[in-house]
Subunit: 411 residues, 2 copies
Amino acid sequence: MTGKTEKIPGGVTAAKGFMAAGVAAGVKYQNRKDMAMVYSQAPCTAAGVFTSNVVKAAPVIWDKEIISGEQTVHAVVVNSGIANACTGELGYGYCRETADAAAASLHVPVDSVLVASTGVIGMQLPMDKIRAGVCMLAEAKSDTQQAGDDAACAIMTTDTISKQTAVTVQIGGKTVTIGGMCKGSGMIHPNMCTMLGFLTTDVCMTKELLQDALRRTVQDTFNMVSVDGDTSTNDTLLLLANGQAGNPVISEPGEDYEHFCQALHEINETLAKMMAGDGEGATALFEAKVVHAASKEDARMLAKSVICSSLTKAAIFGHDANWGRILCALGYSGALFDPERMELYFESRAGKMLIYRDGQAVDYSEEEATKLLSEPEVTVIADMKMGEEAASAWGCDLSYEYVKINADYRS
Amino acid sequence: MTGKTEKIPGGVTAAKGFMAAGVAAGVKYQNRKDMAMVYSQAPCTAAGVFTSNVVKAAPVIWDKEIISGEQTVHAVVVNSGIANACTGELGYGYCRETADAAAASLHVPVDSVLVASTGVIGMQLPMDKIRAGVCMLAEAKSDTQQAGDDAACAIMTTDTISKQTAVTVQIGGKTVTIGGMCKGSGMIHPNMCTMLGFLTTDVCMTKELLQDALRRTVQDTFNMVSVDGDTSTNDTLLLLANGQAGNPVISEPGEDYEHFCQALHEINETLAKMMAGDGEGATALFEAKVVHAASKEDARMLAKSVICSSLTKAAIFGHDANWGRILCALGYSGALFDPERMELYFESRAGKMLIYRDGQAVDYSEEEATKLLSEPEVTVIADMKMGEEAASAWGCDLSYEYVKINADYRS
């Protein structure tokens, strides 16, 4: 029983003691929800990972300060439409004003409020709308599944589906729940984390271990996703833990910690794949699975290189078994291997096919390959025959729609 | 007079003693020229730079062996349509057979014949057609400008225009000529060199310096181009020097050597820009010019990061002054800088505009910016205010056409 994870319905309100809300504040989009809140009355231990981009959006700077301190956290306020990036001192001041407004509405300290923004870079937030939105959110917040749905919808930009998931895991005789939501469709090439992701859990755990668990699970989940190779200025993944599950506090590595990490990995992988499959303009989720690589680092580089290749992505869009482009992308990944020894397979719901072995293509049927590649989830498996390490990366195909979305995103 | 370069008409046949040809051999394409030859009766010193991809096409392996040896070179045979990459031992054998056929037709040693291929990866060459093509090429070769044009057309794949250029430079009282042609439109992200480029010169120079000059000028020209971030398996740039200009042999660094490098840089920059502007599906040549960077390496990384950003490229296609994406791309380039201090400008034939300063956008006119960005050549200038180093990189916009070309390239 202990350590067993189980998928359950819901998202950020699944864990005990968490409330959420999503409202239409008219920040930039019209007639849709565009502000979200996550709230816990019980103070939370908080962990976070943030963009590695030198250009960091104001909310990233605000959140990093709070996460690196010792104080507890009560709420996260998010807006979509405007990213509050490249907005100078004024933009940073707006983070404080947003947190101030939330602190007043929720009767919590200002430095217990995290903020996040996503959308157009370079535009200033309309603070009157943001302040009004915060009041509406504080009013509307609830612990229902519907409230989690509303929040997940409110943080979307070019996303076509909202993304949330939840699991339970048995720890120390108690049921611990982790729930999460994320958004991300364009400018997705997380490095240290995703666009925006918010995870809540009722686990009882020290801050140090919580941060460690987040960092560790992000490496093989969100950091292995790419839609277009552009690492955003706003990437933020937050994890709030309010201790309401009542498990014995996890204060050192061990079995309990491993079980939590496993459940967290499951949440992060699910959300990461949802994000990749909903990449801007995507018609398919494209997975690269590298096995028998010489090292973990090599496996990651190889897998990521394949899902980042524009040519490969365009071929997947065309259901074209253009394996030469995959070999090419493996070749410039930075990892060493022997092209004469490795093997390449395509896999989807329609089956699995060997494509390449002994330095050249096998005699496969193009027709069958095209059929296999016409499924909504497509995997290429590269067997490097070098060692024992493996990694997966997730991306999507490159379509006309991607160009369309990004040629006039601002208009 | 000494060291003065002058642009002249022509390409690979511009330099004294070089002949060329282009014929339709039906390798894969129908009803168009698809095989080319460059030939010098006088033996040539040869230099070359090749792809850094771990997966190297058979012709790359063949050429590297010859270039690394001491023997002189007489000819290069090129085919388009099939890349002879990922073709195993058989493919490598076909390189030798091609060189054998040329050696027999031209009465030169087999190891004085370089070969190059470009096109689909993984397909074997139809050797009967290649052999017949070599005979036609040997027959047709001539030192006319038309022959150079024919060769430049024959090496094209998805290129929409042929690419050649030539300059003269005064060295040691003699007129030295350098001419060149190249091809490349997709899978363009050269690292150590371009897709395929062939340069001829009548300069008299030692092999060591020739190789040095090529490597040095490639760094700021071909290596600063990207169409889609995919480093090809076939990248090859060859430089043949037959010494027919009669200048005193250049055997050590000095004024003569510098003048030659300067002329070679001019040739390489012209060809590199032609390649970027003719990127698959491109409607505009997109240049990123980085000035006042802290180091040369930083300048190159920053410039290349901007022209590689899919989001920025899509914005250029839409004539959208989405400077936030440019700042974002600078931010994840790997170079450190202060976003609050730097400045951003757009420039084209229509004028020059300041867009961003002091950490935020200036009050520019979107209408004027769109007008400026509607020109066929568009430059973004990033003034980093960090030091004295500069670099330029060249790419193109990302259009529907790019996706179309690459979704069904093989069909």
